[in-house]
């Protein structure tokens, strides 16, 4: 103990660098937040795109109604998924980067 600097001069970053129990607690919290965010995005993906096969199977009207000469069901498979992916991806990335940034600020403070 005598060789270590006084406790009040150590930042959480130092704890993290030494993988102490204290530092790892911070890391675990970050990991859980990131995982929660990813699962949230996954649920959104399931709700927006994952239900498509079921919806098309259960709603025959989607196959009968034509849009620009092509059944709506086919449009639904080809077109809307990509913009949804892109929007989800951008939102997720922004939020994940923010979580990382918050973590950096948290562990650097004294």
């Amino acid at each position: 103990m005598a060789l270590e600097p006084p406790a009040d001069s150590r930042t959480p970053r130092d704890e993290l660098a030494d993988t102490t129990a204290h530092g790892l607690l911070y890391l675990r919290r970050l990991r859980q937040r990131q995982l929660t965010l990813s699962i949230l995005a996954l649920v959104a993906f399931g709700a927006l795109v994952g239900v498509l096969p079921l919806a098309i199977d259960l709603l025959p009207a989607l196959r009968r109604i034509h849009l620009l000469g092509v059944p709506v069901a086919i449009w639904l498979v080809v077109v809307p998924a990509s913009p949804v992916f892109l929007a989800l991806a951008i939102l997720y990335t922004r939020r994940a980067d923010t979580l990382d940034e918050d973590f950096r600020e948290l562990v650097r403070r004294r």
Binding site: R13, L30, L42, L52, A81, A89, D100
Partner: protein, 589 residues
């Protein structure tokens, strides 16, 4: 002739850009991960270029024409895979700093033995993915030049092996990016021009009504080079003229008749429903246009199983993950993946157009069962003359770019695994200098192409979609649980990972093999045998978790979790896996 020039141009361009890379590839680290200095846009285009393979460029349209719009779910799944990669894998894996899947397995679970098992998986998946690429090349060159099948296989195999051995990944990054844009151009421009030329979708009754695919208003003449077993879906008169000349023989087939048509010129009258190659099914327009509904390979169970395989399998494809290590850090890996999602979304708008137009305008492909070539043959059929020839040349060039780029990425993975994982084990005593490693990588690139070329020679009759679907199911059932649990669950053990990967891989493979043995079983079982991911992926996860919880290994992966999840910029000591190529030589053996 134009098509031959276009294909040659793509090949020469690939070699040229590869040669540009040779001058830049100085160290082994350059060869393998391009020294991690590739910008997100370049990297995203390169990843997309590498990813768009024969299955995307030819396979989706061919399968759509054959089996109906169910095939379009593939393109959705192929894109969705990158969302899963972004959400769960991209940033942590990049931070971890290991470069191959075997590296990750060994470092995260501290088990050199697991590394061996994972290396076998990498070689299997990459090898099986490489065979359909070479097969597609053989088919394409055959359509364009009339060359025998093996010429295209050998040509693409040689070009890729030379390019990878000399340029490695640095060269490949620019080649792949170039090929992505080439492929988008080659699929989008002909599709749009053909739609404008035709004024929309023709023969709508065959597409969305109750018609079977039929001969056009002037009838249909098809040259059969060899006897062709077919099924007539409707009662149809037809005539056959022998190839050597002579009188035409007129016949009438009853509905449902199975006939082996002799070689010769087959003539069908205007509006007659075309016979289909035995083993395939003639669909009425309304069935064809239903993306999901019914049983077997149109059932919701099959569609969801396919989506699971592609959604989770993408992250387990060895040639894709390797490229994420060329990002400088975790956030860059995220940004790259977002761009990939955007780029792929553009490409996958177009393959469906070819399948639909092909059903209306090239029904002769049903007779020979060669719907896989619809992207190549459609332009000449839809727009006879110079324009059609030019557009056909463009799609042929794009298809060739697809084979070249995907094969390159796969070969980089194969040679990386051989030179880095397999070879050092076999030659423990020899020195492990960077010169030796570079020589090994280059030799492995040459050797790694031999087996897939040999298999492709014999695989002419095997469906492209079958091999690709198997690769995705296998990746989703083995490497996906390894990554998801390894990154997010500290409790995963080496024993659990090994048992789970073997269980998932065996179930997935067995399902597909049994499905082939039973010759297209129907119903729920048929759907799950054809695409077993819905069963095999949960089995792999459950096995990994259960065995890990019961195993007696007692190590807490604190340093590993820190390396995976700690953000950049904290100046943490390097606690993760040491990158043997960047940080110094790895101890031999």
């Amino acid at each position: 002739m134009i098509a031959i020039l276009a294909v040659a141009g793509v090949t020469v361009g690939t070699l040229g850009l590869g040669a540009l890379g040779i001058r830049l590839a100085r160290t082994t680290s350059d060869l393998l991960v391009a020294s991690r200095a590739v910008t997100p846009w370049w990297n995203a285009a390169a990843i997309s270029g590498e990813y768009l393979s024969a299955a995307s460029f030819l396979g989706i349209a061919g399968l759509e024409m054959q089996n109906g719009t169910t095939a379009l779910w593939q393109s959705l799944g192929f894109t969705a895979g990158y969302l899963a990669l972004l959400l769960f894998v991209a940033a942590p894996l990049r931070r971890f700093g290991s470069y191959t899947i075997p590296d990750f397995a060994e470092a995260r679970l501290r088990s050199p033995r697991l590394r061996g098992l994972v290396s076998v998986g990498v070689l299997l998946i990459a090898g099986f993915y490489l065979v359909p690429q070479l097969k597609g090349a053989g088919l394409t060159l055959g359509v364009v030049t009339g060359a025998p099948y093996f010429v295209g296989v050998l040509a693409v195999g040689l070009v890729v092996a030379i390019n990878v051995a000399l340029g490695g990944m640095r060269g490949i990054t620019y080649v792949q990016a170039f090929q992505f844009w080439l492929k988008v151009f080659a699929i989008a421009v002909p599709a749009c021009l053909l739609l404008i030329h035709l004024g929309g979708l023709p023969a709508r009754a065959a597409l969305f009504g109750d018609r079977l695919p039929s001969a056009g208003p002037h009838g249909l003449v098809v040259r059969l080079g060899s006897p062709q077993p077919v099924t007539f879906p409707a009662s149809t008169p037809y005539a056959i003229t022998p190839l050597r000349g002579g009188a035409a023989h007129a016949f009438r087939a009853a509905a449902g008749a199975r006939v082996t048509l002799p070689a010769g010129l087959l003539r069908l009258p205007a509006g007659a429903a075309v016979p289909v190659a035995t083993g395939t099914q003639a669909l009425r327009g309304s069935e064809w246009a239903t993306p999901v509904g019914g049983s077997g390979e149109r059932s919701p169970v099959f569609v969801y199983s396919l989506l699971i395989a592609t959604f989770l399998g993408t992250m387990g494809l060895p040639h894709i993950l390797v490229r994420f290590y060329t990002n400088p850090d975790g956030p860059a890996a995220r940004r790259t993946t977002v761009r990939v999602l955007g780029l792929l979304g553009v490409f996958y708008l177009f393959p469906g157009v070819y399948g639909a137009l092909g059903r209306a305008l090239t029904p002769q492909l049903y007779i020979t069962g060669s719907t896989d070539t619809v992207v190549l043959r459609l332009p000449q059929a839809a727009w006879p003359g110079t324009v059609g020839n030019v557009l056909g040349a463009i799609t042929a060039a794009g298809a060739f770019a697809a084979f070249l780029s995907t094969s390159s990425g796969l070969l980089v993975s194969i040679s990386g695994t051989i030179s880095h994982d397999v070879w050092p084990r076999l030659a423990r005593a020899s020195a492990n200098t960077s010169t030796v490693r570079r020589r090994r990588f280059r030799t492995a690139a040459a050797l790694g192409m031999v087996a897939p070329i040999v298999v492709a020679f014999f695989a002419q009759g095997i469906d492209i979609g079958l091999l690709v679907g198997w690769a995705f199911a296998l990746a989703a059932s083995t490497f996906c649980p390894l990554f998801l649990l390894g990154i997010w669950w500290p409790g995963l053990t080496a024993r659990g990972a090994a048992v789970g990967m073997v269980a998932g891989g065996v179930v997935a493979t067995a399902g597909i093999l049994i499905g082939i043995a039973l010759a297209e079983p129907t119903g729920l079982a048929g759907a799950l045998l054809a695409q077993p991911a819905l069963v095999s992926v949960p089995i792999a996860f459950v096995a990994m978790i259960a065995v890990s919880l019961r195993s007696t290994e007692h190590f807490v992966p604190d340093a590993e979790m820190l390396a995976l999840h700690a953000p950049e910029g904290l100046d943490l000591p390097d606690l993760g896996v040491r990158d043997p190529f960047v940080l110094g030589p790895r101890a031999a053996g």
